[in-house]
């Protein structure tokens, strides 16, 4: 099939491109691409829940921020070096999301979304008001980083590596029997039960896994900016991440990554010329939802493969 060959050739080329990129572009652009890597991880993780499991979490910002805060707090309050703090972020967040998730998956989709929002806002509130510990609305700034990752240049390669590892892990997960079970319960939870899948258990598992990788993205971003703010957890961030995976396409694995690229570029370009970025984003989202519900990737795939499926 044509599209598979295209994929096989383009991936290595893309990788090679990404490896040499920092040598050719200005530092400003490198920062932007690092942001893209972070957003790609976050959106793909959020999509594990939304697109692959049918569970739309409106609390993604909360767990993204949790990763960042755990990392930041460990470094600044406990002196734990970044090498360990970075991993503690996702691990700690995964543990944190267990009790939250247990409550969230007990009800239908609408309630899942709202409860996950409530929990995330609660986390945001705690972080925002606990001034003495988390810095409140001032956040935590000037977080020391290991010398090896001191420059934008070197952090780029770190971020690239992290993104590749995270995406690879998520890819393996989705294509495993576990991943199949998750998609089955998205499509038909009742039938999934009747073939032996304990729906609640699997939903909780994917919730924890999704939040693990969201937190990884948060920790990665925190390390790059060497700061963390309450905004990391605000529901506006949830919207941005949700917009990204919707933009790219929720039914393809790389959709969210593509969405991240489009979003960041669109954002940086539009902001240069006008202050009206919100209406641009809003209008784009509305148009995508109305006319391209499978996102950019879904839209393009359909065009390429034509009427690939037999119909009734």
């Amino acid at each position: 099939m044509g599209i598979d060959k295209v994929k096989k050739i383009s991936y290595p080329i893309l990788l090679a491109l990404l490896l040499v990129l920092p040598h050719f572009v200005a530092e400003g652009w490198i920062s932007i691409i690092i942001e893209m890597f972070v957003l790609a991880i976050a959106a793909t993780a959020a999509n594990l829940m939304a697109g692959y499991s049918g569970m739309v979490s409106f609390g993604v910002a909360g767990f993204y921020g949790a990763g960042a805060y755990i990392t930041a707090l460990l470094i600044t309050k406990a002196g734990v070096p970044f090498e360990i703090s970075f991993f503690a972020g996702p691990v700690g967040t995964a543990i944190l999301s267990l009790p939250f998730g247990w409550f969230c998956v007990r009800r239908s989709a609408v309630y899942f979304s709202m409860l996950s929002l409530a929990f995330a806002q609660l986390m945001h509130l705690i972080v925002f008001t606990w001034y003495s510990f988390t810095g409140g609305d001032n956040g935590i700034v000037g977080i020391p980083m290991p010398a090896l990752l001191g420059s934008t240049f070197s952090y780029y390669y770190f971020a690239l590596a992290v993104m590749i590892v995270c995406l690879a892990l998520m890819w393996i997960l989705i294509n495993s029997p576990f991943g199949k079970a998750i998609q089955a319960l998205r499509d038909n939870p009742e039938r999934a039960g009747f073939v032996g899948i304990d729906v609640r258990k699997y939903q909780l598992a994917i919730f924890v896994v999704g939040n693990f990788f969201l937190a990884a993205a948060g920790s990665l971003f925190c390390g790059f900016n060497q700061n963390v703010f309450a905004e990391y957890m605000h529901w506006v961030k949830t919207f941005d991440i949700t917009a990204v995976y919707l933009l790219g396409g929720i039914f393809s694995f790389l959709g969210p990554t593509v969405g991240a690229a489009i979003y960041i570029f669109l954002n940086k370009i539009i902001i240069r010329y006008t202050e009206y970025w919100p209406i641009t984003l809003g209008a784009t989202i509305v148009l995508i939802t109305l006319f391209m519900p499978d996102g950019v990737v879904g839209f393009i795939s359909k065009k390429i493969s034509g009427k690939g499926r037999e119909s009734k």
Partner: protein, 246 residues
């Protein structure tokens, strides 16, 4: 007796849906439950497959009481069920539908590491072949014709290698040819795999051609049980349900 139902009762808000139902299934027996709409057949199915909990009574499968078990645990006990309103995984291909059912019932779904594509390929193909759907294996279930979806539904139920199979109106909405083909298929599968099969059906041709035993339900109660000839000759049943349709 591979399956026993004792004194099963279920009411909804004061209305008795299933009332003191008792019957047994012999190993390898193919039988049907018939009855007018609202007689309680699907409620009965839901009770014996774990979707509903009975108010009273017990259900035994190979001597073990199963009425309190959740559906997803039931599956591992070698009971399979198909559904009245087709219940497949619409975004999966026919192949993936069967495959995920196999993966789950062989307890492999906990595995997050291996590539699932190649797992249990032969078993999946075998089931698809016996359904006669091998040529349609890569079509998304949501796009399959209605009759094929119902066949797939049965296939998914078979994936767990059940000993006992419950089929809820397997030929509903099918054309006469499809109905005949499905009936033959169920007979063949039951023989090949030594299945005990219990059907709910409205199509009398299917019922009378396939069943060794027919049970008649009316207003939640089991009012008759016997061979096709006995049922045909039963006045009570005639009055209540069959009329002169047979």
């Amino acid at each position: 007796m591979i399956f026993e139902v004792r004194n099963l009762m279920k009411s909804f808000g004061g209305i008795s849906a299933v009332h003191e139902v008792n019957f047994n299934l012999k190993e390898g027996e193919i039988s049907s439950i018939i009855g007018p709409n609202g007689a309680g057949k699907t409620t009965l199915f839901n009770l014996i497959t774990g979707k509903l909990k009975p108010d009273h009574g017990e259900v035994f499968f190979k001597g073990i009481e199963i009425s309190q078990i959740k559906p997803h645990q039931l599956c591992n006990k070698k009971i399979g069920r198909s559904f009245q309103i087709t219940n497949v995984f619409p975004k999966f291909t026919a192949y993936e539908n069967i495959q995920v059912a196999i993966l789950s019932t062989r307890n492999r779904c906990k595995n997050p590491f291996r590539r699932s594509e190649s797992m249990f390929k032969e078993d999946t193909i075998l089931i698809l072949e016996s359904l006669g759907m091998l040529n349609k294996k890569d079509i998304q279930a949501g796009y399959l014709a209605h009759g094929d979806q119902k066949l797939l539904d049965i296939g998914v139920a078979l994936a767990g290698q059940p000993e006992l199979l419950f089929l809820d109106e397997p030929t509903a909405g099918m054309s006469p040819q499809e109905t005949r083909a499905t009936t033959e298929l169920v007979k063949k599968l039951a023989e090949e795999r030594n299945l005990t099969v219990l059907l709910i059906e409205h199509d009398m041709n299917v019922v009378f051609s396939i069943s060794q035993i027919i049970r008649v339900m009316h207003q939640g109660k089991l009012i008759a049980e016997g061979t096709p000839e006995e049922i045909r000759g039963n006045d009570h049943v005639q009055r209540v349900y069959l009329g002169d349709r047979v």
